[in-house]
Subunit: 226 residues, 2 copies
Amino acid sequence: MRKGELTRAAILDVALDLASRDGLEGLTIGLLADKMCMSKSGVFAHFGSREDLQIEVLKLYHHQFEQEVFYPSMREVRGLPRLQAMFAHWVRRVTVEIASGCIYISGAVEYDDRPGAIREALIDMVLAWQNALLRCVEQARELGHLRSDTDPMQLVFEMYGLVLALHHDARFIKRPGAVDRAQIGFERLLQSYLPSDSSTSAEIAESRPALHLLHSAANKAAPSIK
Amino acid sequence: MRKGELTRAAILDVALDLASRDGLEGLTIGLLADKMCMSKSGVFAHFGSREDLQIEVLKLYHHQFEQEVFYPSMREVRGLPRLQAMFAHWVRRVTVEIASGCIYISGAVEYDDRPGAIREALIDMVLAWQNALLRCVEQARELGHLRSDTDPMQLVFEMYGLVLALHHDARFIKRPGAVDRAQIGFERLLQSYLPSDSSTSAEIAESRPALHLLHSAANKAAPSIK
């Protein structure tokens, strides 16, 4: 990496920290220059505008989310095991983010009626993750791991709700036990979508969601999240 | 009402609109003075500080939430019918707020790591609502409407998740059908907490959540939300 690229990467790292703490709208070139002990024009030299910087921060966040949540899950076998891994990795990431905040969740509130390029980029990324979850649910249904009348959008909606509630209770209310509640909720959710005649699926779903599965061997080629 | 009180109430109404749209932190005396065609000092005369104003806006929001969600639900008979009414009124209010935003939900993200009097006031209000839900679940359990091993905190956590997911999908992603998904999720949630031997409870829960119940007759004295 050349020096310019290293500086740019270092600025982005600090910018991601700031955006996680104060929101993407709290991110200013001035604050960033202070933190980096650089001049404002020095920061501007690496990013054409504040909006460009905000979008680059989002891309970095998305890249990290793919690395920590999406790719490890795609190494699981298709169907219910992969869906359980997706939820487990997601919960683990949000748990780590309790100290800083999840940009997808805080961004959804920051940009819910603030039109523009940042909102568009953020929605694309959230939809990419939701679509990955939808595909996984569809595969689980096709494989008979979930009931044939399972509505993938409904199941993903409820999974999303559990993670939003986890973020809300752990980060805002600071109530202990939110991770357990999210996991219990997910188990209950899966139970209600299991085929009634499938003892194998029932066994899979009765186990704690997938933490033990995260280290299994099936190494498939992992496509991108979108 | 005296003229001073009328002016104060009018300022608060506009302030609540602004805070719903831009967040409580987006609320400034200057913006408010512009909207009211008043001087900044004219606005300051009614509120000692920006923080006092923000807290008064929160109290007004809490009062409206009580009027629209809590009191009408308390007129339902105890147990499952009241819980269904609480969810239905809550969903209805969030649905109306899709255009403007729910201050409890956006505030939870705005103030999740911004300590101070506003965060404390907001947490008190959110906890008051969660405690009202908890009490109602406990009563439903005591009355045998819900299984005796129902964990009230778990059920309220999942109800909260459904409403957060509704707000997220309808307001941020703008995906149609979120209200139906929240209601279907709530029905599925209740089903999994119903006593297996209770056909009466099952009938109650299989009906669409409680919209028809909202106009029933049982007029009990309604205590405050907290």
